[in-house]
Symmetry: C3
Subunit: 383 residues, 3 copies
């Protein structure tokens, strides 16, 4: 093991990594790069009785982990006995850190799958509208949205249910609605409507699955890229095994510099395919601050939609494996014992984890060149 | 719902989107970005009895949608009772819009799967040759090709058939032929040959599927990226369900600026992985102008090859779902009820849609950062 | 077939390709681009009784193809009756071509799957340490490693075995270990440790498969991207069909310019997602120089881990097809007759080829925009 030649330099010599972790991270930040704390639990170096998630939440003033998020019916003029998850409380003023955008409060996007309706008919009335959305403490985006938030509301129904859908456009730009769960002539149903106009259509989902919906108006890259997407979850008629069910929509953000405290979406940057953020449910790292919580012994089912517009979501749960990934419409074509599986942009898939070990399990997009920009959250399995 | 604070600006304020759609698109074009009309049917805002596809076709002088494209046997010295689709009518002069490249006419690449031969032996003689190919009204590319077009001719055979193949190189650069459907020593069979030389080999396809063929000469990125690819479709011995069958080859174009009206392929740009165009069958948006047409009630089978060289094809049909995607050699490992599935570069897959609803259904690469650059077409289901 | 109009220029006119192949390649090199000889067997243009692989090996001074690579037990303080493959012979000085980095010799990373232990308990003690690694004749990288090499040692066990693992950090930067094969609370087990500290945990792999391991310390992109990854292969309790088994770990390299003859990993470049090299087992094209050799009639099983950090591995064997790809934990969800399948970053998969034809079969990442940067090797099937 002797070595008569001079040793080559080490990586730490070349990049002058300080021995102190805090200083190292400060240096890394100086690269001009956000360094999200992947897996808060993974990177701590000191014993600490308080969970990293709790610490992060309190440090940022986020709501207490167990506080119920606001669930507002978003379509007061439709029968909202089911199927719609929360909507952005745009009017609940809260102090922000961005001058000129203080009106826009941060809220956690609730990932819980809403319960099924007691009715087999779902009446939905969505509005295409422009809205500013605070996606983190220091970033407010000016978005095109469905119902004032991104992603739009989560819709939940069953195979064979009837979905009666209306889109009203309140925005200056023409918009439309393309449900991937619908089998229908898109020339008619998914047509664009101008400001003040509406389009209505009815469909019966044929297959179970996690389906994307989005504005399909050209250029579709810009409309998806500016916030007009969401998830419709179609459960099979024969229920799947009992589980805690969550919805994750991955999407990329391509943003211009802030103007009046707000960042617009940047179409040329979308074509560069190098996003500023990649998120689950529209906010970078939101479920690090305020994790998803389940009990040990529960089966967790993630309905994952990848809104893209461009990159795959290479889904992985740190410290766990997927008991089941359904490649076909659930329960079809189940594969077992999978560490990571990619969901194509414009696609959706259903993943299950058996949570028989307590702990804090980060769920990530393991394609870290993009995934590290915010598509990281924590699943807390409580004993 | 009151909001005492000043409202933040909207996205349309920040990017100054005109309210008029035409002006908006003009502005978007001014970004220096092509804005292909995704799903002509989806984006129209006026009622119009004439189909968008018809309009687009007539506006560009394309042939009438129902006119038969030219099907020429490309290898007069081989037994061409089957298996070879059209070839570029290079000599049929037509006025072009690019000065100096007028000799090169646009032709639609016929996506129909050619019928099987009555013989179980297929004799193919391909020529590697340089050719200019008009891929759109305003773009002619100087390509390396098989048989003068890109993609090269579609080959169709069955599992266990005998393919007797010869490549003759008519180009200054060494070329070769790699059939993914062949199980054979590539060192011998796929070797490069210089100008004037030929290489011959025989193979019997072992598995059914949509297989890529391509020039494998180093650097292979350059040879694939410059046009030397195509599809060989291997049908199983036991026929699949009756269907209208089409072949789509996705490929990326990385081009230099025009010289003498012609754009060369650009190798350093290939390594940037940001293509200028992404196409089905070598022409951006050709099946928007001149759609694929079937009848209601028909099963449509897409044999999709992704020639790459780099990006996946996230295949999706707007307004439909895939009844079946065959993950293994058809009919193996069929999954059902799929919205979007990605085909790897260098891979191929078989997709089926049950067209039980009439309408105009765009088929797309749903990874829109790349897909919007031309891998969009329309499937018209006529009642 | 007459053409009255002037012919457009050909691609070779536009890029001035010399007719001589050697001159052409020299010109291509002048683009500033590495041109790895894809499929040495594919690109030769002269008959030659000596194999291209042999030629390449002797030309570079690599060891004779059949010479046994050095297998050193890497953890003298653990029970090394199994499961650990070779380690870099850092101290075996050999002249290099890079001034100041001569102490670092090139060695081929042995891809053979190590045999299973006779014991059902595996005791592993890994050390996180900085090391320089020669990945090619002219490139030495300053890496963060497990056990002084990249990838780290191959671990091999069975479903239900017990893995007793300890990581000791000898590096100035905090590090950790995340085994994708472990079902365990990552907050505890995968926590970071500072220099001189250790972390230990025990796990029993639940599923068979090719699993990634890696440092999970934030920013994880930097730790994976700097060399801290490897493969743990978990065989099923019921043996799979007899086969020659190999392990391939694909990874990307993002490097700064050389300093003192050594190139550091470059974090901002990692975020650009345009790698300098993409490799199997950490050295570009190493198995072109010194192929993997099997006998005709053997089944070959590749356990492929894609360490990423970002791009998929679109795995393909030139001249062959995959008899089997296991989408689920082997032997689960086997698909048959596949030309190319993509493995997600952070994922792993098991591929089988029936080598019933002798020859030289390149195995590649067919996404050539990235794959051509070094993830190419040759499987020699000897008669």
């Amino acid at each position: 093991m002797t070595d008569p030649l001079p040793q080559p330099p080490r990586l730490s010599d070349l990049i002058t990594v300080p021995t102190d972790r805090r200083a190292f991270l400060a240096k890394a930040s100086a690269f001009g790069i956000a360094l999200p704390a992947l897996a808060a639990g993974c990177s701590r170096t000191e014993p600490d009785a308080r969970s990293a998630a709790d610490k992060a939440a309190s440090a940022t003033g986020a709501s207490a982990p167990h506080a119920s998020p606001t669930h507002l019916p978003s379509n007061p003029d439709s029968r909202l006995d089911s199927s719609l998850n929360h909507v952005a409380p745009l009017s609940s003023a809260a102090p922000g850190t961005v001058p000129g955008a203080q009106a826009t409060a941060f809220h956690r996007y609730d990932p819980a799958l809403p319960p099924l309706s007691s009715s087999s008919t779902l009446k939905l009335h969505f509005h295409a509208r422009e809205a500013s959305v605070r996606i983190s403490d220091d970033t407010v985006v000016a978005a095109w949205t469905f119902e004032g938030d991104l992603p739009g509301p989560i819709v939940h129904c069953r195979v064979g249910d009837t979905v009666e859908f209306t889109l009203t456009n309140e925005s200056a730009v023409p918009h439309s609605m393309d449900f991937h769960a619908a089998q229908i002539d898109p020339k008619q149903a998914f047509r664009s409507v101008v400001k003040g106009a509406s389009v209505s259509y009815t469909f019966k989902p044929k297959y179970a699955g996690a389906f994307m919906y989005h504005c399909g108006t050209a250029p579709v890259l810009m409309h998806i890229g500016s916030g007009m997407y969401g998830a419709i979850i179609v459960s099979p008629r024969e229920p799947l095994p009992a589980a805690r069910e969550f919805v994750l929509v991955q999407s990329e953000f391509y943003l211009s510099d802030a103007s009046q405290g707000v960042r617009a979406f940047d179409y040329p940057k979308m074509l560069s395919t190098l996003p500023d953020f990649v998120t689950f449910n529209g906010r970078p790292n939101q479920y690090i601050k305020d994790p998803i919580r389940v009990k040990v012994g529960e089966r967790v089912r993630f309905w994952l939609v990848n809104a893209g517009p461009t990159h795959p979501c290479n889904f992985h749960v740190v410290g766990e494996q997927f008991d089941t990934v359904y490649l076909g419409a659930p329960p079809g074509s189940a594969i077992r014992g999978v560490q990571t599986w990619d969901v194509a942009p414009g696609g959706g898939m259903c993943f299950e984890v058996l949570c028989d070990v307590p702990g804090e399990f980060p769920f990530v997009n393991h394609g870290f060149g993009h995934g590290q920009k915010g598509s990281i959250g924590i699943l807390v399995v409580e004993s």
